[in-house]
Amino acid sequence: MPLLEIDKDKCIGCGGCIEACPLGALSLVDDLAVVNDKCTACGACLLACPVHALNLPEALPQEVAVNLVAYSGVWVWIEQFHGRIGSISIEMLGQGRKLADQRKVALTACVLGHNVEHITKEAISFGADRVFWVDDESLAAYSTAPYASTLISLIREYKPEIFLLGASSRGRDLAGSVASVLYTGLTADCTGLDIDLENGLLLQTRPAFGGNIMATIICAYHRPQMATVRYHVFEMPIADSRRQGQVIPIKAAMSAEQITAHVIDSILEKDEIKLADARIIVSGGRGVGGPAGFETIRKLAEVLGGAVGSSRQAVDAGWISYAHQVGQTGRTVRPDLYIACGISGQIQHLAGMKTSKVIVAINKNPDAPIFNVANYGIVGDLFQIVPALTEQFKKKLHK
């Protein structure tokens, strides 16, 4: 039996809720809204009802064991790989600084790794007031348990109000583990973070249903309020090497013997620029015709200093590896420039790229759905247009 309650006396049978339901769980029977078992209590219908006939039982403040006022400060997990700070963590520090200023609290960076003292300085230059620096051989390569246990013990001791992580593979891996143990709310893959000025709560906005709806989510009764944030959502802060901050060395919570998973090797992608944090992506689809065709795509990407992406069809055909797939079953990207070559633009592909700043479509078929989301388009043969475009950029950018 679904949780949604419908007040039959109030319902006017307008059907607004039916439009709003992403699951097809509502229908009209005798001019009144009825709900079926497909309802997942997502709440999408509540705001669509003009007469407030729909209701979900209030989420009660469980236990209220958490002393909310004891929690203060904004924290950011600093992701590093082979001693280099992740671009997404710099972005988090920029937004973390803004949220901390709004709440009039300090910004803390959590730097975990081995031989990562230089990153503590970088974190301060990008806005951190305080850095927890956990340097241990057992933390050299990211692994869930040693990283999560250290962060959990820090959170239990110092009680941050807000804890932000990048929505990278590691960030999502770590956040899910930490929030689960702490019994606190985690909003994944946010594309917006704000403070509600009335109650100080973190307003976390994220897309759902393949980007077809947006939801704003709060965590009212649990702390810290945790969120992972997608790439390229916030402005990059500018480093200020004169900034001062406190660096506090901390011991890792888990001993090396307790760790049950070990990274034994890593194989880096040959491409210089990775899809996830690329500012420019040139993508190829079915129209590329084969693995050789991707050379054309690659050359344009190279001239622009961008990454190579692809549609699912090209990956399934074996023309390019899965690491390049953009879309619902691949990666979600939001670069400044996305050039789609020979990609028709099925809804699954659009879900992975339609929030890119500027979209360019090059396709033979003038009716291809990709043109509906594109800012610029050329109808024509990509094997003529893409090389010509590569030449133009070579001339115009490098003179």
Partner: protein, 266 residues
């Protein structure tokens, strides 16, 4: 090998279209499917069983009709299925979902590997897998796209994970929870033999009373730390399509290059 696969029934997004006038979803004839990433998890479970013997159990938390997803998994070859469905579970966020599934897995007990898809295509959070692993206190290996080695005698597993920078090879102790990406395998179709089995197999439905040690205040909407306070349509893309038409590919390319440069994003 005792393998548990967690699956979710989701709306088949291919059927979802947007009404351009109201910018809302048109769901006529919306179908429900097994979350595509979970299909890879089921397939991987079946392959492990075929190689090492054992049993594949699929579980799903959801409304009553999610039983169809479980039947499909049995139709592919899973040995048994358990449904978790109760009004008390409705409205669960990723925390409460992981909590409920972890309790069910504890009750099933005695497992070696838990498999999940890397994320569900409706919620897109990817947090339930890690949540279950933490609740159970077992190793988690996310974004796995290849099992390189599995040694039941020494209870070790070696996998390749797909990360932003490339791939990473991780060796871990079992029991472990794996979340898998698309590239790991090609899921098989259902077969008549297994579909027949699925139609005669009794799939138990577990409710709150079937979960030992459950804290009812941690279930469903009530037990979920996060609350949705607003739902809205995504902002429409600004501007209209500037379709470039010129006499030759060179000319079109020159015009396009100038326009992109003028955007000041390069």
């Amino acid at each position: 090998m005792k393998i548990i696969v967690c699956i979710k029934q989701v709306p088949g997004i291919t059927d979802v279209k947007i009404n351009p006038e109201t910018n809302t979803l048109i769901r006529e004839g919306i179908s429900s499917i097994i979350n595509p990433f979970d299909m890879y998890a089921i397939e991987e479970g079946l392959r492990i069983k075929e190689k090492f013997g054992g049993k594949v159990t699929v579980i799903s938390l959801g409304p009553p009709q999610a039983i169809n997803a479980l039947k499909e998994a049995v139709g592919m070859g899973a040995d048994e299925a358990i449904q978790l469905s109760d009004r008390a579970f409705a409205g669960s966020d990723s925390w409460a979902t992981a909590y409920t599934l972890a309790l069910a897995i504890k009750k099933i007990g005695n497992f070696n590997i838990i498999l999940c898809g890397k994320q569900a295509i409706d919620g897109d959070t990817g947090q339930v897998g890690p949540g279950i692993a933490s609740q159970l206190g077992i190793t988690q290996l996310t974004y796995v796209f290849k099992i390189i080695k599995l040694e039941p005698e020494s209870s070790t597993i070696t996998v390749e994970r797909l990360l932003e920078e490339g791939r990473e090879i991780v060796e871990a102790k079992l029991p472990a929870l794996l979340t898998v990406v698309k590239d790991i395998n090609q899921p098989r179709a259902t077969t008549l033999f297994h579909i027949r089995r699925a139609s005669s197999l009794s799939i138990p439905t577990w409710t709150v009373v079937d979960l030992p040690g459950v804290d009812p205040y941690r279930l469903g909407l009530k037990g979920s730390p996060t609350q949705v306070i607003k739902i809205f349509s995504p902002p429409k893309r600004e501007g209209v399509l500037d379709l470039i038409k010129a006499d030759s590919a060179e000319q079109s390319a020159a015009i396009l290059a100038d326009k992109i440069i003028a955007e000041k994003i390069l």
